[in-house]
Amino acid sequence: MILDGKLSARVAEIDLLNPTLKRFRFVPENGGAFPTSPPGAHVLVTLQGPDRVWQNAYSLVTPPDQRDHYAIIVRRVPDSRGGSHFLHDRLKTGDAVALSAPASLFPIASLARKHILIAGGIGLTPFLSYRPVLALRGAAYELHQFCAPDEVETFRALIGADAAGVHVHGVGRGERPDLAALLADQPLGTHVYTCGPQGLMDAVEETARGLGWTPHAIHRESFGGDKGGVPFMVTLARSGRSIAVGASQTLLEALEGEGIEAPCLCRGGACGVCLLPLVEGIPDHRDHVLSEAEKAEGRLIATCVSRARSGTLVLDF
């Protein structure tokens, strides 16, 4: 089922998990229940700041059948684009928030015989909703959480330490996780899922490919990444409007800031819902949707992550 429109919610509880991690629990505004969410789902949280609006995607950490509340965990990032600061510093219990219906672009492979989940830092979040589903299915799985040594205890507490198949690895500065040891000698039908910093996800993919795994058996969540860049102008051909896209703002956010309802779903360059036709200008493609040929052709742009190499882009919108 595709749900249109926003879910009205209220902040029911905020837990400080460690100095930079907070868990936010949301309950439906008028009682009742939220929709059932698929494992690995995310929601877009609309944050109404004093002078701007953010729509940020966060993975749900609640089990799929948890309908009386949803929870997300957010890290306060020093040089974020402001969303995590707002959540950490401004949002209070009782505040109203608007959530999108949950969507999953990171599903569990139903034909897999074994699942290996590899998370880096707060990239753990989608796997928190995987675990109850995998457990219910009686599926074989391993969860490997990599984090800074001083966060090992936080993550152990979050996952439920000492559960079978769960490993929390502290990685010191300059150290590299031994991914080959994790992925070598796995039974046929094993799938690997990874979420975390770009470098870790790239390393997981490269290690798995080197061991003869095919792309179908490698799954990565594509949130975050570097969304900022050089400011540029965008012109909308149909209305003739020109809008400035700031250095810490995405093209999509700039459109939304002007009250324009542009399509979007994942806000991470993964789903392709936000693609708009490009009439003029040189795009800086940063999405995972368009093929190399389509990127070279330059006739479509994913507004949620991609930017401009030329000073101005003209969109047929």
């Binding site: 796995q186 046929l188 179908h216 058996a217």
Partner: protein
């Protein structure tokens, strides 16, 4: 009276080694398979060979080859083998269409994805036809219309191929007017 435009009809190519794999296993329902591998890569070959007069399978040329007395025999051993296999395997299948998908389904049950399995049709084009009325499999069908071994219905052999059943669909041709059965034509050999 053929419906050749069915899009789900599988298209096969010739086999080439996928160099991203670490180990390679070719299975064939006949000793006469064709496979080109770079000289520095090893391929293990399993094939079906007719037993000699004393019931023995002819000895194979190298340790990397192994003969089986029937497709069923090969697939049973393959099932056992894949249960112990590790990631990095590539499976190449050469043979009749029914064999290709029997092997595919065995491999998929073992967790292999279609990116790890390569199929090439060879040998007879005769079809395995599943009767939609009584579910009997009719083997070695070479005509456009066939009388079902199970229920006796005159079946029109459609191009609709089921990868799950490894068989073509056969539907009663005289369902509208009983007994109105056009002459069968030789279509596959």
């Amino acid at each position: 009276m053929s419906d050749q435009s069915i899009k789900s009809r599988p298209v096969y190519q010739s086999l080439a080694m996928d160099l991203s794999g670490l180990r390679h296993l070719l299975v064939s329902d006949s000793p006469a398979y064709r496979f080109e591998a770079p000289p520095d890569r090893e391929v293990e070959v399993w094939f079906v060979a007719a037993p000699d007069q004393e019931g023995r399978i002819p000895p194979s040329g190298t340790v990397r080859e192994r003969g089986f007395r029937s497709p069923r025999h090969l697939i049973d051993r393959l099932d056992h083998r894949l249960a112990q296999e590790r990631m990095g395997l590539r499976l190449y299948v050469s043979g009749t269409e029914g064999f290709l998908w029997d092997v595919f389904n065995t491999a998929q049950r073992a967790g292999m994805t279609r990116q790890e399995i390569f199929q090439c049709q060879s040998g007879t084009q005769a079809r395995r036809v599943a009767c939609v009325h009584c579910r009997t499999f009719n083997h070695g069908v070479t005509t456009t219309i066939v009388r079902c071994d199970g229920c006796g219905a005159n079946l029109f052999v459609r191009d609709h191929f089921s990868r799950r059943l490894s068989a073509f669909m056969g539907v009663k041709i005289d369902a509208e007017v009983a007994g109105e059965v056009p002459p069968a034509e030789q279509a596959y050999s």
